[in-house]
Amino acid sequence: MANDTDLTTRPSIAVHATGVTAAGVETSPAPVMQLRDVSVYYGSYEAVRGTTMPIQQNQVTAMIGPSGCGKSTVLRALNRMNDPIPGARVSGEVSFHGQDLYARDVDPIQVRRRIGMVFQKPNPFPKSIYDNVAYGLRINGIKGRLDDHVEEALTQAALWDEVKDKLRKSALALSGGQQQRLCIARTIAVKPEVILMDEPCSALDPIATAKIEDLMFELTNDYTIVIVTHNMQQAARVSHYTAFFTAEVDEKQVRHGRLVEYSQTGKLFTNPADKRTEDYITGRFG
């Protein structure tokens, strides 16, 4: 298996399961993002309550938990994608390189250019394959040598060989798995630092899923990845760190999402600190 130096870039189940990663935590640099007591509201409804966790650089952080536990909501709070939703509001602090993303003078457009996002359902634009990748480059004012940038992004997304002869064809003619890799290519073309993935494989078959997961290993060389997934095996396979969320009913019978446990993936799956985590990962959860 991999040796210790590989741990920051190439996680694998075997390594995590043996618990070798314990040393890795101490050596990992300052987190690229940090959530402190983050709550997300839709109007007066508090969808997620008091989340505190780091996002480590060049690592894959997974967010798992049952439906309605707020993991996607927290993910969207990381690049201010909740902003366009009427009534959505975030309290607490989401910092990126120490800077509060919700500070008054922060431009959400700039935030999203640094922190990209891949969605649950592949959502290529109804344009050609080339124009899908070039769109982000164009709006970011990257001029000239567009072809090179497009090729680079498609190559990084492990899609180039499949599409290089049909760049002018509609992106909608691709298979679901190819579309999702195109969406990843589109995201990495603008060179963000962090890529947020909201259940990126839930609409894909197992082979396409495996390709995306392989791709995530590769991408941690250059990017920090946060992935929301319903699939615990996927979290175990691809992530270095895992955050387990659940939904709790408070004294007024209102449901809130809560972060129950955050730790290294290997530890969370083999030796969870919280009973609720254990119940969930062993399938005893209702």
Partner: protein
């Protein structure tokens, strides 16, 4: 335990048509009938108008389309019926209308779908729909009594400033009464704005949230999001809306008849009076007889044909543009 073991005979046989089947069949006949009725009416209109117009077509031949002179009562010789001047008037006034109405309508629709606070949307939509409910004769009277006189100084100023520019200046020639192609176009623009707005608004609202999210997540501003996600998705629908508006503009009768000036005229000058096919029909039908009447009905046939032709062209344009924009699917 509570399962009743009915004898098979009491249950409906699999082959029997139940009571619902009658309703289903009625429904299918009804919809088929109404669908065919539309085609039948369209066909009958075409057949009867062509037949009624035949004496004029017969007398003029192809000249009916290429002749710019329209003289039902010449001092000497035969009457001359040429549709070209009026076809030009219809085309130029509708074109001016679209030039103003399309950007305004698309702007309003974008505002309503992307920018306006939810509370404002309902009210704004109501106001715009009310605009569509104003009878066209009211627009015509407003145009002749208020708009045309008020615009004369503006036209004069434009003529003074732009009239001297080579080529382009020919568009802004000498100004007469204010009843001209331009005023007709502006009134038409106001009249077609509600229909184009309400359809483009519907089209924009069908753009998937996912497409807009994709653009925003790449760091798009609102305008970049609209250009990248909203427009490509709704191009065909917007063209359809514009075509409906164009159809309305080309067919508009009384408002145009009042403000276009009533001259048989082909000129680049948009400040010159002219006439449109629909307007000529309404102005002259009452006093016409024989071949003259046939010629007026012939104008209707030409108008009908122009509308169909433009719609077919629009479909070709949409198909080409979408293939270019979205990439070919095959």
């Amino acid at each position: 335990m509570t399962v009743t073991n009915e004898p098979p005979a009491a249950r409906p046989a699999l082959t029997r048509r139940g009571g619902n089947a009658v309703g289903d069949r009625l429904f299918s006949w009804w919809t088929l009938g109404t669908g065919l009725l539309v085609l039948a009416i369209l066909g009958l209109i075409l057949i009867t108008t062509v037949r009624e117009a035949w004496p004029a077509f017969d007398a003029m031949g192809l000249r009916f389309l290429t002749e710019r002179i329209w003289d039902p009562n010449p001092a000497t010789g035969d009457a001359i019926f040429g549709a070209l001047s009026f076809a030009y008037g219809t085309a130029i006034s509708s074109l001016i209308a679209l030039l103003f109405a399309v950007p305004v309508s698309v702007g309003i629709a974008l505002f309503l779908t992307e920018l306006a606070p939810r509370r404002l949307r309902g009210a704004a939509v109501t106001v715009i729909d009310l605009l569509a409910a104003v009878p066209s004769v009211v627009f015509g009277l407003w145009g002749i009594l208020v708009v045309a006189p008020a615009l004369v100084p503006v036209y004069q100023w434009m003529h003074d400033v732009l009239g001297g520019v080579p080529v382009l200046g020919r568009l802004f020639g000498p100004v007469g009464s204010g009843r001209n192609f331009m005023t007709a176009g502006l009134i038409l623009a106001i009249m077609v704005t509600p229909i184009i707005t309400s359809i483009t608004r519907e089209v924009f609202s069908t753009v998937p949230r996912a497409d807009k999210d994709a653009a925003l997540a790449l760091g798009a501003t609102r305008w970049e999001m609209i250009r990248g996600a909203v427009f490509p998705h709704s191009f065909g629908g917007v063209v359809g809306a514009v075509m409906l508006g164009l159809g309305r503009a080309m067919g508009e009768t009384i408002a145009v008849a009042l403000v276009i000036g009533g001259a048989t005229n082909i000129t680049a000058n948009i400040f010159a009076p002219g006439n449109s096919m629909a307007a000529v029909i309404v102005q002259q039908f009452g006093e016409s007889t024989g071949t003259f009447t046939a010629a007026l009905i012939g104008l209707g046939v030409v108008l009908f044909a122009m509308t169909v032709l433009i719609n077919v062209l629009a479909q070709v344009v949409v198909r080409r543009a979408e293939a270019r924009m979205k990439g070919s699917v095959a």
